[in-house]
């Protein structure tokens, strides 16, 4: 039986009876991902299994002590399929302990089982464990000594049982392989048992992974990354597609007419020929920084008085993040003054808002996060400051101003700064708004105005937002507490400005008014207690409390690391090569895909899986072959001339009574048109 296990490197070969090859070598007996570097290759094992005449023994060991079950009936069957990490085994055993009420009953399953084959030839001996796992519950029959058909599940079952739960924020910077490993840890599986996956794609969108097994997550990622996933020896291997299919895949065994008994070919039956795959993803332009976009919105009309009005909003944004907004309010109006200007179409009010966002760097590109550093709003309109009675001009509306006519100028400047807790809380803890404006405080002795008030200045001066005592200061704070007994959210706002304290005649600058609201709940109760207290400029206070069924308010949060982004629907229509099959269409949303490239990989993989023919080969057992091992098949009747494929599944039939060790191996021949993309 020819074998193609390839060895390269420096090795010391000892071709004695023990036939051990030791040394520092690179082994291409399997895809390179898990066997390279220093290795010891038991050539005796290969030689023994591949021999034409073999002396064999199949043994089933049960229990922690590994009792050799000698009363096996019929053949032992073992199934290994690439679609599952769990090998299964079946055997029939005649034993009193198969009965439920027997002493040391094995009827209820959960018993360790190991199946081993010993192969001897005149030149080599091998003792190979071909299955290990646990028994399942079983039924038994036969009148005198129970005979049970025992099903066993391989050790790989833990990959299916391990249910993890992790939540990943967007732009965490994790690759799919890293996410899979973190998920495995969450499922209490040692992540170092996941081998391979280098160079996998980075996930940008948030992921809430729960209710999945590690195997299921690996399977989903495998479609997107074009991995082939197999369980081997308790570890999970993520094999790149180029190791399994395509020109670079390295065959390790050749099925030839001299080493197999029969071959059955299974062409695809009504495969899907057209996939319409969809997902949502972040547009490339977002991730590359994007370009500044300006949009305009106009609303307008005419009042019943015949006055026309129009509001023009111009918004500037990058990647959907608004950085500035300009609102122009136009109307038919006269400029106020002693003698108002004639009614004309004028810009009446202008509001400009500039927003500064914190940024983060993603792949070398600076992107804005959802944290606002600061926001400045400037309002301008036709204005002249009010003034004392002995100065200024009386306009036609009877009011007194320092100028004889309004000029277009800034009437309010509002600057807000934001403070956040560090990650992972990211809570918006405070918001400080400083306002600049026109105002003169009331004093006992000063300038008398037309309304009878006595103020400090001849006319309202401009008080800048950054003055020691700005026109207005608004402080908002937010906090939350959580314990087993209670959860609390608190919000407060305090406004400082010129105001007249209770009992005073002059205005003072200070905290004029404010309120605090506190929401409290006992976890699980569903009842919220809301308590509010407030104080006003006149010195009065008020409080209130109420309870209701509901949920705690959600405070604002913003991450310093996650850029703002938007998603768009992505749809890929992929049609199989050629017209060999009738058109069959499949429409599906692909979980976890984020780009058209991902969808393309999925479509290519699915076509490769479903359009590729397969053969099932009956041959002497050779369990050293594993799923996704690359092999060649020669069968002149089917025009297979060293046709390269991979092992998709195999079934061992081991007869402990007459020594026969047979195997049915299913080999898939991937069509070249669906080969993976080779990246340098």
């Amino acid at each position: 039986m020819p074998t193609l296990w390839g060895l390269t490197g420096t090795a010391t070969a000892s071709r004695t009876e023990t036939a051990l090859l030791t040394g520092s070598v690179t082994v291409r007996a399997t895809p390179s991902v898990y066997a390279s570097g220093t290795a010891t290759v038991d050539r005796a094992t290969l030689s023994a299994w591949a021999s034409q005449i073999r002396r064999t023994a199949t043994r089933v060991f049960l229990g922690d002590l590994g009792e050799d079950m000698v009363r096996l009936r019929d053949a032992v069957a073992i199934n290994i399929d690439s679609t599952s990490p769990v090998a299964t085994a079946t055997f029939r055993l005649t034993d009193e302990r198969c009965a439920f009420f027997a002493d040391d009953s094995i009827a209820t399953g959960g018993i360790p089982v190991s199946i081993r084959c010993r192969i001897s030839t005149d030149t080599a001996t091998a003792d190979t464990t071909v299955f290990s796992g646990l028994t399942e519950g079983m039924t038994n029959e036969d009148p005198y000594v129970p005979t049970a058909t025992i099903q066993c599940a391989g050790t790989g079952a833990e990959w299916l049982d391990a249910i993890g739960c992790i939540a990943l924020a967007a732009f965490g910077g994790y690759t799919r392989a890293e996410i899979l490993r973190q998920f495995a840890e969450a499922a209490d599986v040692d992540s170092t048992r996941i081998v391979g996956g280098e160079g996998s794609g980075v996930v940008n969108l948030a992921m809430d992974l729960s209710g999945l097994s590690v195997w299921e997550l690996a399977r989903r990622f495998a479609e997107i990354e074009d991995w082939y996933v197999r369980e081997d020896g308790g570890d999970l291997y993520l094999l790149p597609a180029t190791d399994v299919v395509g020109a670079a895949a390295y065959p390790i065994f050749a099925f030839e007419p001299s080493n197999y008994f029969s071959l059955r070919e299974d062409p695809p039956i009504r495969p899907v020929t057209k996939y319409i795959l969809s997902t949502v993803g972040i547009p490339d332009e977002v991730l590359s920084g994007g370009t500044e976009e300006t949009t305009t919105e106009i609303q307008g009309g005419t009042y019943s008085s015949g006055i026309r009005w129009e509001t023009r909003t111009t918004t500037t944004s990058t990647n959907g993040v608004v950085t500035s907004q300009r609102i122009e309010e136009w109307r038919d109006a006269a400029i106020p003054g002693v003698t108002p200007r004639a009614v004309a179409w004028r810009l009446w009010r202008l509001t400009v808002t500039e927003t500064d966002w914190q940024t983060t760097t993603y792949n070398g590109v600076t992107l804005r996060t959802s944290r606002i550093d600061g926001q400045t709003t400037t309002v301008s309109e036709w204005y002249s400051a009010p003034c004392r009675s002995s100065s200024g001009y009386v306009w036609d509306d009877g009011s007194r101003h320092i100028a004889n006519a309004a000029t277009f100028q800034v009437i309010e400047e509002r600057v807000t700064t934001y403070t956040y807790d560090p990650s992972p809380s990211c809570l918006l803890t405070s918001k400080l708004t400083l306002v600049g404006g026109w105002y003169s405080e009331i004093v006992d002795s000063g300038q008398t105005y037309d309304d009878g008030s006595v103020r400090a200045d001849n006319s309202y001066p401009w008080t800048a937002y950054d003055a020691a005592q700005p026109y207005q200061k608004i402080e908002e704070t937010y906090s939350e507490e959580s314990s087993d007994a209670a959860r609390t959210v608190e919000s407060s706002i305090v406004t400082s400005r010129w105001y007249t304290p209770s009992g005073a005649t002059e205005e003072a600058w200070g905290e004029a008014e404010g309120s605090t609201t506190r929401w409290t709940t006992t976890p699980g109760s569903g009842v919220i207690v809301e308590a509010t207290s407030e104080f006003l400029a006149d010195g009065s206070t008020a409080y209130s409390s109420k309870s209701y069924a509901g949920e705690l308010p959600v405070l604002a949060r913003a991450s310093a690391d996650i850029p703002q982004f938007r998603t768009v629907p992505l749809v890929l229509t992929a049609t199989a090569e050629g017209d060999r099959y009738a058109v069959t269409q499949s429409v599906e949303t692909i979980w976890g895909a984020e780009s058209l490239a991902d969808l393309t990989t999925v479509a290519r993989r699915r076509f490769r899986d479903t359009m590729s023919p397969r053969v099932t080969i009956l041959h002497p057992a050779l369990p050293l072959l594993k799923v996704f091992d690359v092999v060649t098949v020669t069968d002149p009747a089917r025009e297979l001339d060293e046709k390269q494929g991979y092992v998709a599944s195999y079934r061992l039939a081991l007869d402990p009574l007459n020594g026969g060790l047979r195997q049915e191996t299913t080999v898939v021949f991937p069509l070249a048109e669906y080969d993976p993309e080779v990246t340098a």
Binding site: Q52, T56, A57, D122, S258, F261, N658, G660, L661, R662
Partner: protein, 204 residues
């Protein structure tokens, strides 16, 4: 060297039969799977349950036939049939078992049965001379082997030799005592007042 045919009375678990079976039909059941590859190549898997066992495992299926039985033998056979087994049976025909022994290892292994010369008593006249234990190495040269104590349950008999193998197959010929079980018993009444019997015994 044993002469052709069965030249001694069949030993049937020490039973004192007036007349031995008129026919003795051994059949060998090989524990082996043979399949031919697509190009005609033969692949053979032979059961070798333990290291040191013969390279081919075969069990005896034995039919013993009596055309006519006397009353005493009928009673004796009925007792055997009733008991079923295990029965020590020897038909005094030597068997040969082959053992592959790796290079550098002393010849040795496990005979599947007991040696009749040390199991049956009294022995037929001249048995020691007629049914000696003989052993050969791969080249045909004689080996001096020592048989150990058979396993009390299975009858498997260890054998050893002071000679080292060069990676060859040794053969040992001996007259075995089989451990057998009565699988089938068929009485026959071909004529009034005449009773025959067939026993089919399976090696355990």
């Amino acid at each position: 060297m044993a002469q052709p045919g069965i030249r001694e009375a069949v030993y049937l678990d020490g039973a004192a039969l007036v007349a031995g079976p008129a026919s003795v039909s051994p059949t060998w059941l090989k524990a082996q799977t043979r399949d031919r590859a697509r190009d005609g190549s033969l692949y053979v898997d032979s059961l070798q349950p333990e290291t040191g066992y013969p390279v081919i495992m075969a069990k005896l299926d034995l039919s013993l036939g009596w055309e006519t039985l006397c009353a005493a033998d009928i009673a004796t056979l009925n007792e055997i049939i009733a008991r079923g087994g295990p029965l020590d049976v020897c038909i005094w025909r030597p068997v040969t078992e082959a053992f592959y022994v790796a290079s550098g290892t002393l010849f040795g292994g496990s005979l599947l049965r007991r040696n009749a010369l040390t199991t049956i008593s009294p022995l037929p006249t001249g048995a020691a001379a007629n049914y000696p234990v003989t052993a050969k190495d791969g080249s045909g040269a004689a080996l001096t082997v020592v048989l150990g104590t058979p396993d009390a349950t299975t009858g498997v008999t260890p054998w050893t030799c002071a000679t080292a193998s060069t990676g060859e197959t040794a053969t040992i010929s001996y007259a075995p005592v089989y451990r057998m079980y009565v699988a089938e018993a068929q009485e026959a009444f071909s004529q009034p007042h005449r009773q025959g019997q067939t026993l089919r015994l399976e090696e355990m």
